[in-house]
Symmetry: C2
Subunit: 359 residues, 2 copies
DNA sequence: ATGAAAGCGCTAACAC
DNA sequence: GTGTTAGCGCTTTCAT
């Protein structure tokens, strides 16, 4: 809104937004030189305890905070770790929280850039790079390798949750054992007697493709027919896919790309009177915070997000500090977490009112 | 660390970053002055088409990218908008997404700082201030006014979702009509015949207190006895509170602090065999993405997060650009969204177990 | 132990 | 039009 009635600056009645104090101000007020103040404030040895005390006191009193831009220009160091994330995504939320913890532990500041409908990955990375982050952690980036390489430029980068081949020899990757995990899921379902197991995928980029591959491999290994329907990584996408999938079918189990997608599938099912897990079993992937809720109670894969976050953050900061080990690819173990959304396959025919299932 | 060129990084096929070219380099190579190059590259009028072309060509050839740190230092402009958020919080996620949209529309970059267990609000704000954000938007900050004032210093700030009195005459606030909204909720429940309506609060700071007040007012206005039990803003907190609340009781409706808390309450209820809404009605607040899911289907308040986000972001950027209107307090309308988690109160006694007839 | 001075890479005000 | 000249606020020798 801001009905800017008075378009003029000169008004200073309401507390003058006086300019932020500078090193010089502190130096003057403390009666010492700027250089000294700088050393004191950064705890460098040299200054005497007496002046240190005085300077600290003055700085505190004046509410001094170093201008990081200037520090950066002069020192070329920022101690900034950058991460791209999708706001509101619970899985990302957990990762960010753990990355933050590592950053704190090592004295780095974490800067986050959002990836949204209006703001693509590339721009987020640019924001981070321009803010002089010394290393980057990208959560499930989907841009092609060439773009990735170009936008991160010379900043050490590690991606989480995405396979990345030798096209990007300088970008480390941390991910979960997606392929194996999908086998765990299919195994679990198969052992419950399911044979008509569909996969709602997450699109055809990188991670989703990897999971779909795992699903296919697992199905074929058991002599079952794979059925993959296009989905996405959101609740909405899952719901849409389910709508399509269950228009016809005979499917008794759905392996969704991730938890959000699975929740969407369950949402649709529940709206159309299909019971989970009585009529249809559903599985997710990520074990995000929602999965454990009684109302959701989703069988899923826990991809050790905690480990992934720590590995990635440390790797990134190591690189920022000059570690020159060769490219790292870390694969975190994935565990099956069985909950109430999966149950034995309904017995043969007519398991529910309308539309029939089949053997 | 990582001195520019002193140590040559092992030359990968992808090309080694030699010292990043500076304005001076371009100027030399083009045979003009740095000042001119600067103008050309920023598209300022002045330079002749001829030199502009030459400079552009050289810059391109040398892969020049302005050092933003230096630009910032010199121009004292960053076009950076900062926001603090709790990663993974769906409500915050929606706000951030909308704030990002506004920032994009106005040519600002959005920087996000996380508030987590290991990283408190104060530190997040400091990170943002240090990164030279020109304005700040704080989501549901809980620090006391004095601290708030101190950490934001002279940076224009607007807080979302928190009452803030005249103690902070320079901080704008955008919030929802919490007090009224609580009345809407209680009204809704009362009109369904509920009389034993409890409130699981969100703690005793600011917003939670405001909502609790609204609840109390509404209850008393209807001659009902208020019952407030301590809760929190998370699913876990809601579940814990429910456990306590339903150990004894006779409560037929619960007004939770927010959706997350409500989901926690429902989670507990569902685990203990109490049906929602047959036995107990539950309401939330925020209308976050989960509330609409079929499995949750929560009656709640939609606080117009879209409007709040836009108002706050624009207000902040206006201030960054020097708007000097007096302190703004914007209250967004709150709408009741009725879903399936509320139903008529169970008739008279023994509402638990299977009994539950309806009016 | 302390102060002075030289930049970091860029922008902007002002001469030429 | 174009070049020159100061800084921006801080870090960092290098004298003192």
């Amino acid at each position: 809104m801001a009905d800017d009635v008075s378009r003029r600056a000169p008004d200073r009645t309401t507390g003058t937004p006086r300019r932020r104090p500078t090193l010089q101000d502190i130096a003057d007020a403390a009666g010492v030189s700027p250089g000294l103040v700088s050393m004191v404030l950064r705890g460098r040895s040299g200054p005497s305890a007496a002046t240190a005390a005085k300077v600290t006191e003055v700085a505190e009193r004046l509410g001094y905070r170093a201008n990081r831009t200037a520090s950066q220009l002069a020192s070329r160091r920022t101690h900034l770790l950058g991460v791209t994330t999708t706001p509101g995504n619970p899985y990302h939320g957990e990762l960010v929280e753990e990355i933050q913890a590592r950053a704190d532990a090592r004295g780095y500041d974490l800067l986050i850039a959002a990836v949204t409908r209006t703001h693509d990955e590339q721009r987020s990375v640019e924001t981070l790079v321009d803010s002089n982050c010394e290393a980057l952690v990208l959560l499930n980036p989907i841009m092609p390798p060439e773009t990735l390489l170009r936008v991160v430029g010379t900043v050490p980068t590690v991606v989480i949750g995405r396979p990345l081949g030798p096209e990007a020899p300088k970008i480390d990757v941390v991910r979960s054992a997606d392929h194996d995990a999908m086998e765990l899921l299919v195994d679990h379902l198969a052992s419950l007697g399911h044979t008509r197991i569909a996969h709602v995928d997450g699109g055809d980029l990188y991670l989703p493709a990897e999971r779909a591959r795992g699903y296919r491999t697992a199905m074929q290994a058991r002599g079952l027919d794979p059925l993959v329907v296009p989905g996405g990584e959101t609740v909405d996408a899952g719901a849409r896919a389910a709508k399509e999938l269950f228009a016809h079918s005979g499917i008794t189990a759905v392996v969704a790309y991730n938890d959000q997608c699975a929740i969407g599938v369950m949402d649709h099912l529940s709206r159309t009177g299909v019971r989970v897990p009585d009529d249809v079993s559903v599985t997710g992937f990520d074990d995000d915070r929602l999965a454990g809720l009684a109302q959701i109670d989703l069988t899923t894969i826990n991809p050790s997000q905690h480990d992934q976050a720590h590995l990635a953050a440390d790797l990134a900061m190591d690189r920022a500090e000059g570690a020159t080990t060769r490219r790292q690819i870390k694969v975190a173990a994935a565990h099956l977490t069985v909950r109430g959304s999966t149950a034995p396959a309904p017995v043969t025919r007519m398991p529910r009112r309308k539309g029939a299932a089949r053997a």
